[in-house]
Symmetry: C2
């Protein structure tokens, strides 16, 4: 697989991060070509921070690293799914997942 093919349409593609064992979705972040390469080379997740405009080794500061177990890509080759083993919390708020809030007031039936 030529990694360039992921970045034909856009220099940044979304990467869904999922806990390998429980399948809990932890977060979504963005990868460019370089962060994907560093993820593959190191076995830990690297992203491109859109707010700070820099490469970002998830957990390098907090210690909450994500060890990559598997990496999948979708049919359109413009989204990644990264299966990880998360150390500590994925979310900067301290929650294990960034998706800790449910959209309230909505009923979706059975």
């Amino acid at each position: 697989m030529n990694l360039d093919s992921f970045f034909v349409k856009s220099a940044l593609i979304p990467a869904i991060v999922q806990e390998a064992d429980t399948r809990e979705v932890l977060m979504l972040a963005y990868m460019n070509r370089e962060s994907l390469q560093k993820t593959l080379d190191t076995g830990y997740t690297w992203f491109w921070s859109r707010s700070r405009q820099e490469l970002w080794n998830k957990g390098a500061v907090s210690g909450h690293l994500q060890r990559v177990k598997d990496l999948y890509y979708d049919c359109d080759e413009d989204t990644l799914l990264v299966m990880v083993r998360q150390t500590g919390a994925a979310c900067h708020t301290g929650h294990h997942s960034c998706f800790y809030r449910r959209l309230e007031g909505e009923s979706f039936g059975e």
Copy 2:
């Protein structure tokens, strides 16, 4: 929750779609304000198709609808996680999930 808050930074935000029962990640698509509202109103997923530039009721043509069971949003309020019950295949290739290909040639330890 004011839905507008999701669209402050961008008119389109990624929505991860996950099978409610098995927690398999099925696909990622994009929602604008109107598609999110229609998803909430109907209980089935609606997206904004970036390629066709139109609202898209997932499964309206194929019959492979996604019944929404729950909807979460992340800490930054710029990504949605939609828990669904998928009818048939989520992927237009016939695979249940769009993430049916593993990035080959990579070893992630263990």
